[in-house]
Amino acid sequence: MSTTVIPHDLEPHPLTGMYNGKFGIWLFLASEVMLFGALFSTYVLLRVGAPPGQWPAHGSEILNVPLATLNTAVLIGSSVTMVMSWAALKMKKLGAARVWLTVTFLCAGAFLVVKYFEYTDKFSHYQVWLNEPIKVGEHEVTTIKGHLTADCPKLEVSEKNGAYSVTEHVMITPDAEPGGHAHGEAVKIEASKVKRISNFGPRHSPYLATYFTMTGLHGLHIVGGMVVILYFILTGGSIWKRSQEKYTNRIECTGLYWHFVDLVWIFLFPVLYLL
């Protein structure tokens, strides 16, 4: 098989100014734009069509903005280290390049760790919607947000779509008021009174559904990128020995992909957290 030499595998084509791989990755990114485009379209359609109050006025009502800001910085940083490693290769410094790659890899890891904490926090936080108002503390409420107590009986989970339902009753400690006085004591609610119960996972609301789907898909892209980067950190030496140019190109393509993932986040962040 090796006998066939593919034209423009390494040297750029005069028309596009790119070697095959680079042109290919750009085309792939174009399709990625349409992929996320559809998701943004979904976000806009659902939000515009939603009755007032169904979506939070500001992401910080539900999400953790400081953490996300940190993550944004981390990801942008990883983008810089990525080009740095490419630049290093251009200066024929394999060692430096590998260090930069490793830093990039670690940044990506850090990003995922932070996301992990954001996610898990949501899954342990619940909301109950009630059939008729009940009294909590001083005022009547039709819905309660909070954490389930330790002695709260297990919720029933439908195997079809994982929806929760209450068996006999739920025990939930409401969150502190925005006003800020301490947690009220746990409230007991009979199953008959519960219209719907859900944690702050995807099924909670269109907003969180969009949030988890978009960030989830973006997260998968991060993981994919990490795999590739790791591969090039490890195999770097051997490929470099075979052809310095090939290795440099590979890193450039990986970089293009990585910057795109960063670019997507730059839009996800304000759209999901700040609006």
């Binding site: 806009v44 910080s60 810089v80 960063d262 730059i266």
Partner: protein, 103 residues
């Protein structure tokens, strides 16, 4: 200019640019977050957020991804892609408003 033949000097120049862009991106990130707490009107808030995001995005594309130094061919392909992106973004929303039914 294709990155094919690049002197060490060129690369060094590039690196300086990267650092600059990096700093700018961090600043802009700070800006969006800050603005979002001013509780502007919906329109304004969306406007600012998208504007800043677009600037940042352009920075990344142009400098980290070297888009500014690519040949015209690529621009046309991306322009096409961008156009369809807008169509996809707008038309479904329009249907919500141009529907004889009530949602």
């Amino acid at each position: 200019m294709s990155h094919h033949e690049m002197s060490v000097a060129d690369v060094k120049k590039h690196v300086r640019v990267y650092i600059g862009v990096f700093a700018l991106l961090l600043v802009l990130t700070g800006v969006t977050v800050g603005v979002s707490y001013l509780h502007l009107s919906i329109g304004a808030a969306v406007g600012v957020a998208l504007l800043v995001a677009s600037i940042k995005g352009t920075m990344v594309a142009c400098y980290f991804m070297h888009l500014i130094s690519e040949k015209a061919m690529l621009f046309w392909i991306l322009a096409l892609c961008g156009f369809f992106f807008l169509v996809l973004l707008l038309v479904p929303v329009i249907t919500v408003h141009d529907s004889v039914g009530v949602h």
